[in-house]
């Protein structure tokens, strides 16, 4: 038997209607119970408190010290007008400047590293990290975020120069 007659013969319509109704009823009832579970529990808690007449202990306000500790600390802006570099660092610094200038006044660090690697510059990654930490290379702001330039406010000198100077 096929088609609608097969469905009717097997009580298909009835089973389907009953099945969908039972599934919906089950989940709707469960949803209703869950929707009210929080309210019920809260009411239960209040009743308990009323009966027991327990004194509520207000949460202590945070002390000024705690509040101060929570405040983000202002990061001091390092001012490094003069930076001393070792001979090796000076050499890499000069290379980096040369390579960066090929890109223009502002440059991209990934491209700089790529070029430095191609030319076999010693430890380009650690040197780049050092120059960034010393503030020799500055990130630009606004729409230029993520691009960099050499910091014009920083004076770089070799360790030898520094010794002579001191």
């Amino acid at each position: 038997m096929y088609g609608l007659s097969a469905i009717s013969a097997a009580n298909g319509w009835l089973i389907t209607a009953a099945g969908i109704t039972i599934v919906f009823t089950g989940l709707v009832v469960l949803a209703l119970v869950l929707a009210n579970l929080e309210k019920t529990l809260t009411a239960w808690d209040r009743r308990h408190e009323m009966l027991e007449k327990r004194r509520r202990i207000p949460k202590a306000a945070p002390s000024p010290e705690e509040m101060a500790a929570e405040k983000p600390k202002a990061v001091p802006t390092p001012t490094t007008p003069v930076v001393d570099l070792s001979t090796e660092q000076m050499e890499v610094y000069a290379y980096f400047q040369w390579l960066a200038n090929r890109q223009g006044e502002t440059f991209s660090l990934p491209r700089l590293l790529e070029q430095a690697e191609k030319r076999g510059i010693r430890n380009p990654y650690t040197h780049l990290d050092l120059f960034l930490r010393l503030g020799l290379i500055q990130e630009l702001g606004g729409t230029q975020r993520g691009f960099y330039r050499w910091n014009p406010d920083v004076v770089v000198r070799s360790a030898e120069e520094a010794e002579v100077g001191s």
Binding site: G12, I15, T16, V23, V29
Partner: protein, 374 residues
């Protein structure tokens, strides 16, 4: 010489025909999809290897095949035939699932209920195509997108179809990322897909502990036939949430579920012996299974749109697609599609609510079908 010829005639090479080769190719495809494509690897790899094991042609009477009394595989298959493995898997699922998103927004449970429409529509379609009622029920449950539930019900109603139904159910579960997105795009507008859901309220530990007890009592009093599956699901969740039985919860969600998944996967795979599996009926099961899955997805989405007509707090209709169980893959697909439209829209946690209620809904539907059709 005669001895050697006798031996050679009993090897798998001599006994194999084209059907065995087809099934071996299917097994290899499952293994490939599991390993290379990461589609449900924990299920597809054991099932795939099980298919290989079940399709080595063996000389009948040696007690090797899964359908031969006394064979090792036959004993392991006992857990499938008697519906023992699926409730154990549900225990593990309960012990690893956090129901808090559902508790925070219970109205999303209706999406899980709506998606179960696919089960019943496919049941009707299977009846109309001439399948007997018990087989039609087993085929319809594929739309629940819940492998253990599909195996459980078909083991009870149509044990001879466990193989094809399990393979269809797990295949479609693995193919959730392929099947669902076109339906999701088809049934929703861009504006609807962009709807952002507000943050769910925090759920207290006490609510989480009470839920499995209340949920179990309500669901199983309404549909007692769902007791083996839902009982274990809620029991597993109680173990997880009560905090005093953490060792048991840990075992249920790790070692136990893994062991049962291995046994279930391998034996279901091995049950697909070519002569039993490669039939016109199996093709019908696969086609109806796919339809069931699609109707279930559509049911959830359309119901979400219907709810939006009456509700001020709009629901992103994509969440309806997570109403088919397939935890957590369908929720991930919802996240993926929502995220594609708006990278700042995070639907994953919201989708877990209909996803989990879909598990409960499909187990209730299985219980209902079992009690009506047995």
């Amino acid at each position: 010489m005669e001895l050697i010829l006798d031996f050679l005639s009993n090897t798998g090479f001599a006994l194999a025909d084209y059907r065995h080769l087809i099934m071996i190719a299917v097994g290899c495809t499952f293994i490939y999809l599991g390993i290379a494509k990461h589609y449900e690897p924990l299920l597809l790899v054991p099932i795939g290897f099980g298919i290989l094991m079940g399709n080595i042609p063996v000389f009948r009477g040696l007690g090797l095949g899964i359908y031969e009394e006394g064979s090792v595989l036959h004993y392991l298959y006992f857990g499938v035939r008697q519906g023992i493995y699926p409730p154990l898997i549900f225990l593990g699922i309960g012990a690893m699932t956090d129901f808090s998103t559902m508790l925070a927004r219970p109205k999303l449970m209706l999406l899980g209920a709506a998606a179960q429409v696919g089960i019943f529509i496919t049941f009707l379609a299977a009846l109309a195509l001439g399948f007997p009622a018990n087989e039609a029920g087993s085929i319809g449950i594929i739309g629940g997108a819940d492998g253990p539930t599909a195996i459980f019900l078909s083991a009870k109603l149509a044990p001879e179809l466990v193989g094809p139904i399990a393979i269809a159910a797990y295949s479609y579960m693995a193919l959730v990322p392929v099947i669902q997105p076109p339906i999701m795009y088809l049934l929703t507008t861009k504006e609807e897909r962009l709807i952002r859901m507000s943050d769910p309220r925090p759920v207290s530990k006490r609510e989480k502990i009470i839920f499995p007890i209340v949920g179990f009592l309500l669901c199983c009093l309404l549909a007692p036939a769902a007791l083996p599956l839902l009982g274990m699901l809620f029991f597993g969740n109680l173990l997880k949430e009560c905090m005093v039985a953490d060792r048991l919860a840990q075992t249920a969600r790790t070692a136990l579920i893994d062991i049962v998944t291995i046994l279930l996967g391998v034996t279901v795979g091995a049950s697909t012996q070519a002569d039993v599996f490669l039939t016109a009926k199996s093709v019908g099961i696969f086609c109806l299974g796919a339809a069931s899955f699609m109707v279930a997805t559509a049911g959830g989405i359309l119901f979400a749109k219907l709810m939006n007509l009456f509700s001020k707090d709009k629901i992103n209709p994509l969440l309806g697609a997570a109403g088919v169980s397939a935890v957590p893959d369908s929720a991930r697909v919802v996240q993926l599609i929502g995220n594609r439209e708006d990278p700042g829209n995070y639907l994953l946690m919201h989708a877990m609510a209909p996803n989990i209620s879909g598990v409960i809904g499909s187990a209730i539907a299985a219980g209902v079908l079992w009690s009506f059709l047995l």
